[in-house]
Amino acid sequence: MKNPKSMPDPDVLEIIKDGLMTGQPGLIHIISRIEDNLQITREEANVLVYDTVLRLNLSLFPPITKMELVLTQGCNLTCSYCFEKDMLGYLRMPEPIALKAVDLLFRYSGKSERLNITLFGGEPLFNMETLKGAVRHAESKAAESGKTVFFNMTSNGTLINEDTAEYLAEHGIKALVSIDGLESTHDRFRRDRSGKGTFEKAMTGLKRLKGKQPLGVKMTVMPEATRDLFKNVMGLIDLGVTHFVIGHASGVQWSEEDINEFINQWSSLYSWYRDGGKKRATVVEFEEGESEGPFYGCQAGRNSISVNVDGGISPCSKMLGIDSRNIIGKLGNTEYGLVNISNRINITRCMELMKECAKKGIDKDYQGGCFATNYEENKNIFSPSLLDYKLSQLKKSVTNCPTCR
């Protein structure tokens, strides 16, 4: 009988290695071979695979410090540009999966001390039970490990009541409410299932956070609404908003005229901001600039992951939204960890993204952009979106031009 503490036979090691290096590892086969070869139980083989995969990831890649938890695919709105349109249903993440996801974040964070969890959906407040369980578990893991965990939540705001607002404040959960502008803009795109605009409800939810945390909004700018961008930001500031994350809508058509108008508005906004507006509100994009860091590709899959309701792990929620069944660039699951090593290698080192940027002649001033947007435009996460490239260059020209108005 084989000593269970000894190494697996070379052919089994080769099966483990080959299995992990395919895009879709056949874990059941790998586990049953380990079980037979080492004469250990299925449960022990599962732990061994989890621990081995964890060590491989910690050795080969940067630590994971950010995680999005897709707490539910359910949402009460039907926003016209939503990237999760095809995903939305009523599935909710069971609490045990959320707890395993939190455990995974802490183990894959290695020596990193500052971790970030984004509570995401659908509408995350539809799954308060799991949300609270995940927060409680993360707080307890943080206390026992000496790490610090920061919480964010992206919400449509319509379900924020007084109790929720209190709970968010008590646990330091920073809410970012999706509001696209003043009523006429917001209600054009963000409607409930009966077709009614949701501006009033979202603003009511947002105002419940007043005095408890900064009022932050995520503005998505549709091509049809670009000409009102500046006016919308000013209007929301008058209503008490102090924190903005502003992005253009992807997966929709942008004409040259729309792009030019967007950049005009962006330029006006930047001039206002630079000339003192920042005392009234923070625009995250102006604080961070357009730099993507010293590497190709974004943080997705490098030090950030997204966990779906069933425990499937994707590089980011937007990639999940595009195809939550087949998960583009899938990295693994909460049961066994980031087992799709070859996908993580491709995403982290981005050889293909660099080559595609070079092919399009944009490799000197662009680092590949967003995988999900690339996929939306080209059906290939490594083929850069030319719309994103153009907008990023134009935005850079605005923020790098001290004399422009």
Binding site: N3, P4, M7, L13, K17, M21, L56, S59, S291, C350
Partner: protein
């Protein structure tokens, strides 16, 4: 009767298996297959714009060579500065292995350290 594995046994075995797998991957990640600078982790060393896997080290001519014993045939292309170090204007900084040197410093290719330009002070190193 087979002994039940303790959590420590399990951790030790997982560690040995992962090391063995990394060693087996080493061949495929070394040389021409090595990634650009953004492939990082304790088992990789930076070599110009490329990385060498764990069993290799970077040589002065920006090739991966075996750390111990036989030198493997170098397969990497020569390093070329391609990605801005990520801090400030590309004219004010230059990439130097894991580091970015300020403009008054130059990159020592064989050590990837930032040295003062035009002085004889050789030992001002580090992340500057």
């Amino acid at each position: 009767m087979v002994d039940k594995m303790t959590p420590q046994d399990m951790e030790e075995l997982a560690s040995r298996i992962s090391e063995e797998i990394i060693a087996r991957l080493g061949g495929s990640l070394e040389g021409a297959e090595a990634g650009p600078v953004n492939m990082c982790g304790p088992n990789f060393v930076q070599c110009g714009n490329y990385t060498c896997s764990g069993n290799f080290q970077c040589s002065a001519d920006f090739k991966c060579k075996a750390k111990y014993g036989v030198v493997t045939p170098p397969k990497l292309q020569s390093a070329r500065v391609q990605i801005d170090g990520g801090c400030g204007s590309e004219h004010a900084f230059s990439e130097c292995g894991d580091y970015t040197c300020k403009k008054e410093f130059r990159c020592e290719a064989h050590q990837f350290m930032c040295n003062l330009t035009f002085t004889d002070t050789p030992n001002i190193f580090g992340r500057l």
